[in-house]
C-alpha cells in the first residue's frame, strides 16, 4: 500500500471520527467546525499531492512538505487560541455561578434560622 492510499484512508477516518463525535454529542457542532475544515483539507491534499507542490512553488518554498508543516502548525495555533478563549469564558461563568451559589447559600441559612 502506497503512502498516498494510506494518507487518504487516515484523512477519511479522521473526518468520520469527527462526525461520529458530533453525532454522539461528545463534541459540540460549534467546536467541530474547525476540525471538519481541517480534516477536509487533509483529505483534499491526500487525493491531490501535486496541490501541495503547486502551492509550494507559488509561495517560493523549495521543500514542498514544509508547506504542510507550516499550515499544520498554524492550524494548531488557531485551535489552541480558540480553546483559551473558550476557557476564559468558562472560568468567568464558573466564577459567577460560584458567587451566586455562595450568596444563595447564606440567604438560605438565614431563612432557616428565622423559621
Amino acid at each position: 500500500m502506497s503512502i498516498y492510499v494510506l494518507s487518504v484512508v487516515i484523512a477519511a477516518l479522521f473526518l468520520l471520527s469527527i462526525l461520529e463525535l458530533v453525532r454522539r454529542q461528545k463534541l459540540k457542532e460549534q467546536y467541530s467546525l474547525l476540525w471538519i475544515l481541517f480534516s477536509l483539507i487533509l483529505l483534499i491534499i491526500s487525493f491531490n499531492v501535486s496541490l501541495v507542490e503547486r502551492i509550494a512553488e507559488w509561495l517560493g518554498v523549495k521543500y514542498a512538505p514544509a508547506v504542510l508543516f507550516l499550515f499544520g502548525l498554524l492550524f494548531c495555533f488557531a485551535i489552541i487560541l480558540h480553546l483559551t478563549i473558550v476557557i476564559t469564558r468558562l472560568s468567568s461563568q464558573v466564577l459567577r455561578l460560584t458567587q451566586e451559589v455562595t450568596i444563595m447559600k447564606e440567604r438560605e441559612d438565614l431563612h432557616g434560622q428565622n423559621d
Partner: protein, 234 residues
C-alpha cells in the same frame, strides 16, 4: 446610610477576630460581611463567633472573585456604601468614619498611606512598585494617585453596581481604579494610617511580584484602551 464592610479572608484565623472587634468598637453601626474564600483553617467559625456574617466560597476563587462576591451581596441587599478592608489587620477601623463620610461625596474613596506622611514604612522594592503604579495610573487617568495598591476603600452605590458587574480576578486594586475612571466615577484619596500585618504573611513572593508587575501593567493599559465598552461580556 446603610454601610457594609467587606472583608475577604483566606486562612486568616489569627487576625480576623481582632479586625472584627476593631470595627465593632470604632464603627458600631456598620454591617460586616466576611468572604471566607475557601479557607482550610477556622476562619469561618472565628469570624461568626466574633459577630460577623460570613459568606463561605466552596473553593478558593482568589482575592478579586471574593471581593466581587461582597459587592454583589452589597448590591442585592441594597447597601448605600461598601467598604473593603483586609483581614490581616493592616487597615485600622479608626479610619473608617473618615472614609465613610467622604463616600457620600465621591463615588470611591481610597485610604492612602502616602497622600501625606503617615507612620507607615514599606520596604524599598514594594515602595518602588507602588510609585510605578501610581505614576502609570496617574498618566492613564490624568488624575494624581499616590496609593493605587491600597485595598482600603469605600464605595458608593454607583461603584457597587460597577464592581458587581466587573472586577479583576487577581491583583485587582490598580486596574479597578482605571476601570472606574473610564466609567466616569469621581475618586478621591484620603490619608489613612496603616499597620504592618498582624498575622499570616504577604501572598506576594519574588516570582509572583514579577508576574504582578507585568499582569497589572498590561491590565491597566488594556483597561485604558477599552474606552467605554463593558469589559466583560455577559
Amino acid at each position: 446610610m446603610r454601610t457594609l464592610v467587606i472583608i475577604p479572608a483566606y486562612n486568616e484565623e489569627g487576625s480576623i477576630a481582632s479586625v472584627i472587634e476593631d470595627i465593632h468598637r470604632n464603627a458600631p453601626s456598620v454591617d460586616i460581611i466576611v468572604i471566607n474564600d475557601g479557607s482550610s483553617d477556622h476562619t469561618e467559625e472565628i469570624a461568626t463567633q466574633a459577630g460577623a456574617r460570613v459568606l463561605t466560597m466552596p473553593y478558593n476563587v482568589g482575592i478579586g472573585g471574593g471581593m466581587q462576591t461582597g459587592y454583589i451581596y452589597a448590591q442585592r441587599m441594597g447597601y448605600d456604601i461598601a467598604v473593603q478592608m483586609d483581614a490581616d489587620g493592616q487597615h485600622p477601623a479608626a479610619e473608617l468614619p473618615k472614609l465613610i463620610e467622604l463616600a457620600g461625596k465621591y463615588d470611591l474613596v481610597i485610604g492612602s498611606r502616602y497622600v501625606e506622611a503617615t507612620d507607615y514604612r514599606s520596604p524599598v522594592l514594594r515602595r518602588t512598585g507602588i510609585l510605578f503604579f501610581s505614576a502609570l495610573v496617574s498618566l492613564v487617568t490624568r488624575q494624581r494617585f499616590t496609593d493605587t495598591t491600597s485595598g482600603f476603600r469605600a464605595a458608593g452605590r454607583k461603584v457597587i453596581d460597577l464592581y458587581a458587574d466587573y472586577y479583576p480576578i487577581d491583583y485587582p486594586e490598580v486596574e479597578s481604579i482605571v476601570y472606574l475612571k473610564r466609567k466616569g466615577c469621581s475618586i478621591t484619596e484620603v490619608r489613612a494610617e496603616m499597620h504592618e500585618r498582624k498575622a499570616g504573611r504577604s501572598s506576594i513572593t519574588p516570582l509572583k511580584s514579577v508576574y504582578y508587575m507585568i499582569k497589572v501593567t498590561l491590565a491597566v493599559l488594556m483597561s485604558a484602551l477599552r474606552f467605554n465598552r463593558t469589559a466583560v461580556s455577559k
